[in-house]
């Protein structure tokens, strides 16, 4: 597995609002974090919508890597990290979680209504450009939609480069990232401004310490109001997946022979 290489000492995980600049540049970094149901939770339908009222909400798993990469970037280059979420009041928790890990600022774009990808990406990209961010980190896909549209879509709206499914990052002049391609991995140079969609890589995500948790408790969420465009894609209903008919179960290793026959004669796949 590739090792992450960093151009600065990243063992120092203190909360330092300005970071320690290597050059004169102070990078303004944004990280998008989303609140989603814990992946262990049972999803239930009530009427024709998913009912999340009794589900534990957590930071979407890949966003943890996005936060970690954003913090590593700040430590390597100097700058600030702002965590941004789009949601209602209840989404403040995911911002506080990011704050406890070490981001500098936390911003919520206040919106509870459904937005299709186009409306959603517009809302995000407007804030990114108005507030002058130079790098955006996000998850490669969120655990609820699984769509993976936000990173590349926001980049396109901003006219920026984007790299997705990134597993490792080296913070050089621009960024040198590792991402899978057909047959292996590509090591790609990209300069800022850029949107980086993060996969799990070889980095370990840091856990909040007591000081971080205390700071997060006191931290103020900056709430911005947004006025999304109308969506052209609308949700008609949400439902449970069709039940798969019960399969066939056999006892003992010898039955593997029968299964191979079935794969050919019943399933027609080999």
């Amino acid at each position: 597995m590739a090792q992450i290489k960093k151009s600065a000492d990243t063992n120092v995980h203190q909360l330092n609002p300005t970071g320690s600049a290597i050059g004169d540049t102070m990078v303004k970094i944004a990280v998008l974090v989303k609140q989603v149901p814990d992946t262990n939770s049972k999803i239930q339908i009530s009427g024709d919508r998913v009912d999340l009222s009794s589900v534990k909400m957590v930071m979407s798993p890949f966003d943890e890597f996005a936060v970690e990469n954003a913090l590593l970037h700040k430590e390597a280059a100097g700058g600030t990290v702002t965590a941004i979420t789009v949601g209602g009041n209840s989404a403040d928790k995911v911002l506080k979680d990011a704050k406890a890990i070490g981001v500098d600022e936390i911003v919520r774009l206040d919106c509870t209504e459904y937005m299709d990808s186009n409306a959603f990406q517009k809302v995000i990209s407007e804030v990114i450009s108005q507030d002058g961010y130079e790098v955006v980190y996000c998850g490669k896909s969120s655990a609820d939609t699984g769509s993976g549209s936000t990173g590349p879509g926001v980049a396109e709206k901003l006219g920026w480069a984007s790299v997705s499914n990134v597993t490792d990052i080296e913070f050089t002049d621009g960024l040198t990232v590792t991402a899978p391609v057909e047959g292996g991995d590509a090591i790609i140079n990209v300069s800022t401004p850029v949107v980086v969609s993060c996969d799990k890589g070889s980095i370990k995500v840091r856990k909040p310490n007591v000081k971080g948790i205390m700071m997060a408790k006191r931290a103020q969420v900056e709430v911005k109001s947004v006025s999304p465009n109308t969506s052209s894609v609308t949700i008609v209903s949400q439902s449970m997946p069709a039940e798969k008919p019960a399969g066939k179960k056999f006892e003992g290793g010898q039955s593997a022979e029968t299964v191979v026959q079935l794969l050919r004669n019943e399933a027609n796949i080999i």
């Binding site: 999803i43 292996g184 090591i187 949400q238 022979e257 299964v259 796949i269």
Partner: protein, 310 residues
Amino acid sequence: MTETVIIAEMHKGKVSPTTNELVGAANLLGSNCTLIVPCTDSSVADEASNISGVTKVIAAKSSLFTNYDAAAWAQALDSVAPQGIVVTSASAQSKDLAARIAARRDISVVQDVISIDGNTLSTPIYSGKAIENVSINGDVVVSIRPNVFAGADNDGSCEVQVIDASGDLSTAVKELVERASTRLDVSEANIIISGGRGMGSPDNFSHLEVIADTLGAAVGASRAAVDTWAEIPHSMQVGQTGKTVNPNLYIAVGISGAIQHLAGMRSSKYIVAINKDADAPIFQYADYGIVSTWEEALPVLGNALSNMLS
């Protein structure tokens, strides 16, 4: 009727068979289907001209299609593609491209579509624990899950137009690190055999590799295997924090079937499970379950397969 525009799915520089499924899906969304083939050598587009249901093939020719660059590909393909509903595969790269093209055209994207009924599209949400049905109004970009839609036949014929496409590169590939093994990656394979903690040691994955080589399959792993053994890289991980796969056949060996593993593979067309615990949750999702240790079952499986395929 609605115009549809398909971006051909490419594999090793050629039009991949998945493209026939994209045509099948596009024909449910509209008519007059233009197939765009991103290529460096336009002759590869000729093969696509016999896919039935395609009205016209456009070979979008450019040296920038050598390596994936999201911004440049979206720009180049947008410039040659007519307006309409754009259809791509839901492979990791094509989903990324789909999102970029949609944003560029100021329209929305619906990813991972698994069924189409008029203007209503269905996609899995919460990693397949539920389904969302959305209605589309006007042009959108849709990415189609592989191995779900019936593929169009290859008995058509249509005109191939070659257009030089161009775009501004925003990334530079410094190095390509080829995988040590010649075996496919789980994200590319139509058959996957995965091992879990029940394999006991990373060395035992060699038993899975033998079968993978017989089948032309990829070898995958559960997170427990990846986290426990340094020899099993994360690139092999299937699941919530690994890869989402939709192969024709998924063989789970020594994998219990935790919800986060299912998240990555439950939409496989056929699932075979080998597990010594008859109550392992994976059996609820398996089309064919074998209650046995892998030590006992894998040699039998391997022999039966090589007898059948030789």
